[in-house]
């Protein structure tokens, strides 16, 4: 009985976090991007500085007609948004905010998070293929190529953190963290950040949805709530990747009063990273497809391998 209650409670709180945190990031993006461009951003919805803008957007999306193109592969087309969205929900369930505040304490949670987030690309691929639209297909192909390229440096950099901590669990990695990591894990952290932004297909790595070339990539044919799910998946992805970065490289809940407010530290660090990801979008232009691949294979993979070697040597020497 208490077990069932606890499982329900944990699931509901993870779902609540999954629905609230991406909206927070989205609102932060609205406002930060606006002010970086000398604008105000949303100011009306909800009264105070447009805090309810994304809620209003959600209501608008719900009201819109749900169109499935006649030539589309109906089942796959309608199922794709769920495939894109749910992996991030699952990933969020195992990310610890502090040793106590965690949806599900999984032993090899770092591995688990990487595995689940990699499933999200399937949703984009399904959407692109099932839309029966050349732009969608091109976008899906670009997504696939991009995610294939950037998954490798991402995994290699996470492997470096795991190696340094001697643990595959996110909680264990955050416990083993020491301020020295800021220095000697820096290359790996940079690789992780760049690869994470590329995984999320956020600018400057938004070639798969480059609106000037292929309309909106794999999401071209989507309307209404299904389209909103893709957007929600993108922002949930930012939340997951920012929290991961905060836990892997910034020590998660480590900080003053970490016994009481450890979860707050993780959230704050994650928020800073989310703002950095937004900042990159505002400041930098989009990378061309060949530049994108060039960056992944010529720069990031060797850098991640070097970091992995450095970490390995250090762990062996110091042990």
């Amino acid at each position: 009985m208490t077990d069932a209650l606890e499982v329900t409670l944990r699931s509901v709180s993870v779902l609540a976090a999954f629905l609230v945190l991406p909206l927070l990031v989205g609102q932060a993006e609205h406002k930060v991007m606006a002010h970086m461009q000398g604008r105000l951003g949303p100011m009306y919805a909800g009264g105070f500085h447009g805090w309810a803008q994304l809620v209003a957007d959600g209501v608008k999306f719900v009201q819109k007609e749900d169109i499935t193109p006649a030539a589309a592969d109906r089942g796959v087309f309608r199922f794709a948004p769920a495939v894109a969205l749910v992996p991030y929900l699952v990933a969020m369930a195992v990310i610890p905010l502090s040793p106590d505040v965690v949806g599900a304490d999984v032993p090899a949670s770092a591995l688990f998070v990487l595995a689940t987030t990699a499933v999200g690309i399937l949703g984009t691929l399904m959407a692109g293929w099932a839309s029966a639209n050349k732009y969608s297909l091109l976008g899906a192909m670009r997504s696939a190529a991009q995610l294939l390229s950037y998954e490798l440096p991402l995994v290699l950099s996470v492997a470096s953190f795991c190696l340094a901590a001697g643990s595959l669990s996110l909680g264990g990695i955050a416990q083993a963290w020491s301020p020295w990591w800021l220095l000697w894990q820096l290359p790996g952290a940079l690789v992780f950040l760049v690869a994470a932004v590329a995984e999320l297909q956020r600018p400057p790595f938004d070639m798969p949805i480059a609106d000037a070339e292929i309309v909106f990539g794999a999401y071209t044919e989507y309307t209404g709530l299904r389209f909103a799910f893709f957007l929600l998946a993108e922002y949930a992805g930012i939340v997951v990747m920012s929290l991961l970065f905060a836990i892997l490289y910034l020590g998660g809940w480590q900080g003053p009063f970490s016994d009481q407010v450890g979860w707050l530290w993780t959230m704050l660090k994650g928020l800073v990273i989310a703002v950095v990801i937004i900042w990159m979008r505002v400041a930098w232009p989009r990378l061309r497809e060949d530049q994108l691949q060039h960056l992944a294979w010529i720069v990031l993979v060797p850098l991640a391998l070097a970091q992995l070697a450095l970490t390995g040597v250090w762990v062996v020497v110091s042990a």
């Binding site: 000398g38 604008r39 400041a283 930098w284 720069v299």
Partner: protein, 251 residues
């Protein structure tokens, strides 16, 4: 293939940092946005928002309607006979304006009507919030055009070194010695009274004569007095509101 890229990747980092610095600097600065419906925009006084009509100044001379490139000004008028003011005098006729309408769905805001009006009946107003849901509702009659008159800003001050306005110069001139009594009776009041009031009766008399005879002498005074015309708009200034009343009235 890789050769041109090596220097570029070396040069990319300063560029990326510069981009980040620029956006961060902008983040710290005040925004450029004015929240328009809540805060009135700062429009220069000579903005071409809408054309206002000062009906008292209009003589139905039709110059504006004829010069309008879009033919968007509609004028109807009739003649009225004024009985002679002195016994045995001649009856006078004057035009009475029945309808004056501007179709702002056709107007291209060139301002030719305002320029061409010899009697300063048309004025630019900075008001711009008169959109309608139906394009046919943009045809505004003279009562609506007159409502914009209080929003017309006063004319800008003359340059410090400029010549006095023609009307002021004429008014300040010492009166001529009464030489030709018959002709001077009509001419002298013109000079001494404020021109705006003095001109109107004179103009009202003129339409009796052929229009062709009227035009050649006329263009000169308005041409001089276009920049230097404080006397006429002041006849409108009593009704003219300050910019505050303008925005208040709009709301």
């Amino acid at each position: 293939m890789s050769e041109p890229r090596t220097p570029r990747s070396g040069g990319a980092l300063p560029g990326l940092l510069k981009g980040l610095a620029t956006t961060a600097r902008t983040l710290g600065r005040p925004t450029h946005t004015t929240e328009y419906p809540d805060a009135p925009p700062h429009l220069p006084p000579r903005s071409r928002g809408v054309i206002a009509l000062l009906e008292e100044n209009c003589t139905s001379c039709m110059l504006c309607a004829r010069e309008c490139p879009d033919w968007c000004i509609y004028i109807d008028s009739h003649k009225e006979t004024i009985p002679a003011s002195t016994p045995g005098g001649r009856e006078r006729q004057r035009n009475v304006l029945d309808r004056f309408a501007i179709d702002f769905s056709l107007c291209m805001y060139c301002g030719i009507c305002v320029e061409v009006c010899p009697f300063d009946a048309l004025h630019w107003s900075p008001e711009f919030e008169y959109s309608e849901l139906d394009i046919r509702d943009l045809l505004h009659e003279k009562d609506r055009l007159a409502q914009w008159m209080p929003t017309v800003p006063p004319p800008p001050a003359l340059d410090p070194a400029s010549a006095e306005p023609a009307e002021v110069a004429a008014a300040n001139k010492p009166p001529r010695p009464a030489r030709a009594a018959g002709a001077a009776t009509t001419a002298r009041p013109d000079r001494q009274e404020p021109p705006a009031r003095a001109e109107r009766p004179t103009r009202a008399e003129r339409p009796e004569r052929p229009a062709r005879a009227e035009r050649p002498p006329r263009p000169d005074p308005p041409a001089d007095s276009v920049p230097a015309e404080p006397p006429t708009p002041p006849s409108a200034t009593p009704e003219t509101g300050t910019p505050e009343t303008k925005s208040g009235e709009e709301a």
